[in-house]
């Protein structure tokens, strides 16, 4: 026997507007918070070089030097790019926390989805 048809409540215009704005605020908060807290992007370190004012001092060979110059760069303007390195050091606690957040999210997702899916199937095909 099919489950009685569930008739959802009608949402007011104000309710629709509130839901849209809520999602929008959530999106901007999630994406802009790391940027404004300056936590976005990797930590960078600086490579030690012999001399930042010459191509040789920056460890560039003749071919590399020629290409930098064709791109309109000087040793001074290229130094920041050449010496910048990502800092990949991390602590295991941070990694563990991140794994927990990712796995936890998927567990939550599948758990609630399963319950909702059972509703859908029961109404569509009836009780087994």
């Amino acid at each position: 026997m099919a489950k009685p048809h569930y008739e959802p409540p009608k949402q007011s215009v104000a309710g629709q507007l509130f839901d849209s704005l809520f999602l929008l605020v959530l999106v901007f908060a999630a994406l802009f918070t790391p940027l404004y807290l300056k936590l976005a992007g990797g930590g960078k370190t600086e490579l030690a070089v012999a001399d930042k004012t010459t191509w040789a001092g920056l460890g560039q060979n003749a071919v590399q030097q020629a290409q930098w110059e064709k791109l309109g760069m000087t040793p001074e303007s290229a130094a920041g790019i050449i010496t910048s390195r990502f800092d990949y050091s991390f602590d295991l606690a941070g990694l563990g926390l991140t794994i927990l957040v990712v796995v936890g999210y998927f567990l939550l997702l599948f758990h609630f989805s399963k319950a909702e899916y059972a509703d859908v199937i029961e109404e569509r095909f009836g009780k087994k």
């Binding site: 994406l31 003749a62 990949y88 599948f110």
Partner: protein, 461 residues
């Protein structure tokens, strides 16, 4: 199956006008821009060789995505693509999340395209002596113009994409031939490549932006409801698309790594245009300028198409306010969804840096690929091969799903290396949105309407 929306008492559905060529253009059109910008940040994260290895691993990841997606999409041919799949296979909350992944992956990619186009116009303007050219007006103009084009109609939009994509792809081939890859006359790999500056950890880290070579190819199935013959066109369009991208990615890496120092390449905004500059050929510069402009336009265009269809589908199913589920009575496009997403794209294109915008897009895509690996296993389990007719059956199941899940896990770690805060922020966002949906929004959802395919009852339910 064609789903409809009622407007003024009349049922209006999306038009079935697209063929395999349009599907190829939609997939490649969105992604080809990944060769023109963004992929090279993987060089910054691990060096040029690491970027090449990442390109191959990402190619493997996307081959799994294309195989899996072709099977499921050729069976669940409804607007919204992976979103419609999740509705039928996993459940409403997963569908809501997948819808959000799609919207953010594409809207952020659209924003990244607009940033690149604005930057390019500014660079070329400066080279031409117009020092006061600003990128911001071009960013706004790009997003608004393409939104208007999408508002007008899907056929004109994707036909426009077909032309832009073909020109952008030909530009890469012409550049590749012009740098004489068979000789060392122009390309100087021996003098410019420097091994692995970060060691093997850099190879893993590079996988983060390695996804950018192909991100969005799964967008082919967003237009499933507007395709004339989904069972044939979707697998054909998607598979030829991934082959095209594998070729373009390899050519792009070879050209760029042989022309510029890896440190420069790792942070360049328009690497292929810069490569053309380094050939000293004015016609090539003009061609790659056109190629970059066309690829960004085609990609942004396809992104608006895909993001709006996912948003529209969620509105139609009441996962979002029903106001978004409207089809334009004349143009037959999801016009409210298109217009709603314009300011979101504008805000990000205007205020956020390119690598951050790309990371948000990649993370949304990555979550979607993780879902796909579970999705196909559940699909086969709930409806074994002999229970429903599939347009395409992917081979070696479940190996592609397992490989995909492993590669996704490695990529999460790659994003964690350098962009861990964004990763956690995004996960928290999706967790909060999921709780909001389950405990608030779900009450507006019509249960039985979430399953519209003419399939038997799933096994185990």
């Amino acid at each position: 199956m064609s789903q409809t929306t009622v407007v003024h008492g009349e049922k209006i559905s999306l038009l079935r006008v697209l063929g395999p060529g349009h599907i190829w253009a939609l997939g490649v059109g969105i992604v080809l821009v990944g060769e023109y910008m963004g992929w090279n940040f993987s060089v910054g994260k691990g060096g040029a060789f690491a970027a090449l290895i990442a390109c191959w691993f990402a190619g493997l990841l996307y081959t799994c995505v294309a195989m899996i997606d072709s099977e499921v999409t050729s069976t669940v041919a409804a607007a919204g693509g992976q979103y419609a799949q999740a509705k039928h296979i996993v459940g409403p909350l997963m569908a809501f999340n997948v819808g959000l992944y799609l919207v953010f992956a594409y809207t952020m990619l659209e924003a990244a395209n607009a940033i690149t186009l604005g930057y390019l116009v500014q660079t070329v303007g400066t080279m031409a002596g117009f020092e006061n050219v600003h990128d911001k007006p071009f960013i706004v103009l790009t997003i608004v113009f393409l939104a208007w084009l999408n508002y007008r109609g899907v056929y004109a939009t994707l036909t426009f994409n077909l032309v832009l994509t073909a020109v952008a792809f030909i530009a890469i081939i012409v550049l590749f031939a012009s740098v004489k890859p068979w000789s060392g006359e122009i390309l100087k790999h021996g003098d410019l490549l420097n091994g692995l500056p970060y060691g093997m950890l850099g190879v893993v880290a590079a996988l983060h932006f390695g996804l950018w070579y192909y991100l969005g190819i799964e967008g082919t199935c967003q237009a499933a409801e507007e395709v004339r013959s989904p069972a044939r066109s979707l697998p054909l369009g998607t598979m030829t698309g991934i082959i095209t991208l594998l070729l373009a990615a390899t050519m792009t890496w070879y050209i760029c790594s042989g022309l510029m120092p890896w440190e420069y390449l790792g942070q360049a905004v328009t690497p292929l245009f810069d490569a053309a500059r380094l050939t000293d050929s004015q016609p090539l510069m003009v061609l790659l300028f056109i190629g970059t402009v066309f690829s960004t336009l085609a990609s942004a265009n396809g992104c608006i198409n895909d993001a709006s269809r996912a948003w529209f589908s969620m509105g139609r199913d009441r996962y979002l306010p029903t106001w978004f589920g409207a089809v334009h009575p004349t143009n037959r496009t999801p016009y409210r969804a298109i217009m709603f997403l314009v300011p979101v794209a504008l805000v990000f294109a205007y205020f956020a840096p390119l690598d951050q915008v790309i990371t948000f897009s990649i993370l949304s895509g990555l979550l979607g690929y993780t879902y796909m690996s579970f999705n196909v296993i559940m699909f086969r389990k709930k409806w074994p091969l002999d229970t429903i007719k599939r347009g395409y059956v992917h081979p070696f199941h479940p190996i592609p799903a397992i490989v995909l899940l492993v590669l996704c896990s490695v990529t999460y770690f790659a994003v964690f290396l350098g962009y861990g805060t964004q990763l956690v922020a995004m996960m928290v966002f999706f967790a909060v949105a999921s709780l909001w949906f389950h405990f608030h929004r779900y009450k507006y959802v019509r249960r039985g309407d979430q399953f519209t395919m003419d399939w038997p009852r799933p096994a185990g339910y």
